[in-house]
């Protein structure tokens, strides 16, 4: 009993010390060229998805909110699902993440089914993982290479108003194409656009 108490005390001290010693860090830790922050989140069916289990695979993270008209535009046009299936057919793991504070797995299932999404929609209602990645917008896209490093973060494309008739570049498709061909991603970071992620705090 005594040993346990002292262990607990020691652990508490270590945590305190770490908090004091650790320099003031920025909230988000996702950065191009760095390891993608780890996470375990439940999908719309309640199944836990662990990023660590995807090692060796290219992973796309799509910050997602079905109540955002910018997301809606990419889904009513069919483009987001088309892009996702193009790459999941080739073995890429595509995970939507909803950090909206008041959404449940059931909400995500209902909205995802309505949008014909045949891929996991992860529940991050606490916002912890969203903040960890520095996700600010929906959609906000991250591409992680097979070694677990972030190789792209930012907008889905260069068409915020959806009114470009030529010269549209889908940055995620571009990054995945370049990864697949073994070249480096030419535009690894862009400014995301869309609705703010509806965080709890």
């Amino acid at each position: 009993m005594r040993r346990i108490t002292s262990l607990v005390l020691l652990a508490a001290f270590a945590v305190l010390a770490a908090a004091v010693i650790a320099p003031a860090e920025e909230k988000s830790s996702a950065a191009v060229g760095k390891s993608a922050p780890a996470f375990q989140l439940q999908d719309q069916g309640g199944k836990t998805i662990n990023l660590a289990d995807q090692s060796g695979k290219v992973v796309v993270l799509e910050w997602w909110n079905n109540e955002c008209p910018i997301d809606a535009r990419h889904y009513t046009s069919g483009e987001m699902n088309k892009l996702a299936s193009k790459w999941t057919d080739k073995g890429v793991v595509w995970l939507a993440i909803n950090s909206t504070h008041d959404k449940t797995n059931a909400d995500n299932k209902k909205a995802g089914d309505a949008w014909h999404m045949e891929r996991p929609i992860l529940n991050d209602a606490s916002g912890d993982i969203g903040h960890e990645y520095g996700a600010t917008n929906t959609p906000h896209m991250f591409v992680i290479d097979s070694s677990g490093k972030v190789v792209y973060m930012g907008a889905i494309d260069n068409n915020p108003d959806g009114d470009k008739t030529s010269g549209v570049v889908n940055y995620v498709d571009q990054a995945l194409t370049q990864l697949a061909s073994g070249t480096s991603v030419s535009q690894p970071q862009t400014r995301a656009y869309g609705c703010s992620v509806k965080y709890a705090k």
Partner: protein, 287 residues
Amino acid sequence: MKPMKRAIFPCFVGLWFIAFACVARGSDLVSAEMLSDVSAIAPGKAFNVGVKLKIAPGWHVYWVNAGDTGIPTKITFTLPDGFTAGAVQYPVPQRIDVTGGMVSYGYSDEVLLMATITPPTNLKVGTSITIGAKASWLVCKENCIKGDAKLEQAFKVAAVPLADGYAEFAKWQAQLPQATDRVKQDVQLDAAGGQFKSASGKLIIKWDKAPDKVEWFPDATDQMIVSTNELKTENGQSTVTFKIDALPGEKVSDAVFNSVLAYTLDGRRVGLAVPIRLNSSNQSQGH
């Protein structure tokens, strides 16, 4: 009777995408009206047109740079042959703190986005012309809704312009960022190998009388991230220190980007237009 029909129609027809067809539309939360400061134009004489957006209480639309999130409000004018339009001018924006630690720049209540139009000198007196405007916006509160409007206004062509609606334009022109030589800027570039990568900068303005609520709004381009490190007002001057990082893989082609330094003095909000120069000659300018 008519408006009710209009409200039901999109929900009924849009059953298959009911999730977003039956929510309020951006046009219900923002009303757009085209305005000008003349009712008759004259050959070669510049005049102003604008789109005034009235925004539902608690909601906001975005500045030319939306900040961390959002989509800029955009106005495009359609002009008859021979007419030219200046850049759309955006009044000094407000800072909008978004839950989650994000900051957006935009407008609540109402805003007039305007441009100066110059007709050709060979325009025939006695005819009439039409100018079109297309406005698009994202309006947000807790959720966001996209909206747009197509507007037009007809003008008679007279020998001399007939001023009309001047007061409204004067009110909004007073809220446009003003050119200034009062802001001193010092931007240190890290451009190793001739390629701009990052810069650290400082803006300094001296005050005769210290104002309230000094804010800085950078209009960063898509090729860079601008972060404000510190903004302090003390000893009769305000200092903004900031950092600019070129996005990896992007060549920063613009040697200048715009910014607005805003402050409130004697209850009046003022914005100064401060172009930030990203070339080596910046140290000798801006005094």
